[in-house]
């Protein structure tokens, strides 16, 4: 999941849950059924889980573009001082 995908997943999760909560509450109140409210909300949670938790392809539409190796050779980095190791972890796909 890329950076844009993470943001999208988080926003989708919040918006979907709030929307299902609103629908569930209004339906339950209008039809005077507490059970229906809980069922609709539970269904909404399951749906949101399926949409936002797996790493779907549409969360990976903005992959990070790294410089080509040749490009990097043309613009070499300044010589690093000794014993400095890169702490950056590879980005999870």
């Amino acid at each position: 999941m890329d950076w844009q995908g993470q943001k999208l997943a988080e926003q989708l999760m919040q918006i979907l849950l709030l929307a299902f909560a609103a629908i569930a509450f209004v339906t339950g109140y209008v039809l005077a059924s507490f059970q229906l409210m809980v069922l609709i909300y539970a269904g909404g949670v399951v749906f949101t889980t399926l949409v936002t938790i797996p790493n779907w392809p549409f969360f990976n539409r903005h992959p990070l573009k790294w410089l080509d190796p040749i490009e990097a050779e043309n613009h070499p980095k300044p010589e690093p001082s000794e014993n400095v190791t890169s702490k950056k972890k590879p980005v999870k796909k």
Partner: protein, 167 residues
């Protein structure tokens, strides 16, 4: 960061927070309900009235209880517990309460009822004070909601009197 587990945890936490919130709002909607319950009790007969060997008065009576508690029910009501108590004053105690009958109402359809019964629980005084005693019959109820606070209220029906003599 932002692994499968992280997203699952965030979703679960947020979902349960919202569930708590909608339950709280559901409980709040109960405050818009202004119930108008009705209750009537007739004492049809004093079946017997005597003094037990240990000195306590005991009376058995036939009651006709009718009530309409439908207005207590909202979408957030699980059940209503209702009981009928005899209440009277003696020299020793300012308030004596004796439960004579009770019931659990599980749905609005069953909340309008009448029943013809002798007292379900024994009406025994602590002592020998019941002859000619004036007493109230009080219909108490506890509304048990699905979420939120339990509510209790009552209807006092005054003006009953026990006979002057044992029978």
């Amino acid at each position: 960061m932002h692994s499968f587990g992280y997203r699952a945890n965030a979703l679960l936490t947020f979902a349960i927070t919202i569930l708590a919130l909608i339950c709280a709002i559901a409980s709040f909607t109960d405050s818009f309900n202004h119930p108008t319950p009705l209750a009537q009790v007739k004492v049809l007969n004093i079946n017997w009235f005597h003094k037990q060997p240990n000195g306590n008065d005991e009376v058995s009576m036939t009651l006709n209880i009718s009530a309409d508690l439908q207005s207590l029910f909202t979408w957030n009501t699980k059940q209503v517990f209702v009981f009928l108590a005899a209440e009277y004053e003696t020299k020793k105690n300012a308030l004596n309460q004796i439960s004579l009958w009770d019931g659990i109402i599980q749905s609005k359809e069953h909340a309008k009822f009448w029943t013809h019964t002798s007292n379900k629980y024994r009406f025994i005084d602590q002592g020998s004070n019941l002859r000619g005693k004036e007493f109230n019959l009080t219909m108490h109820w506890h509304v048990m909601p699905k979420t939120g606070k339990m509510l209790a209220d009552k209807i006092v029906i005054p003006g009953y009197r026990l006979p002057e003599e044992y029978r």
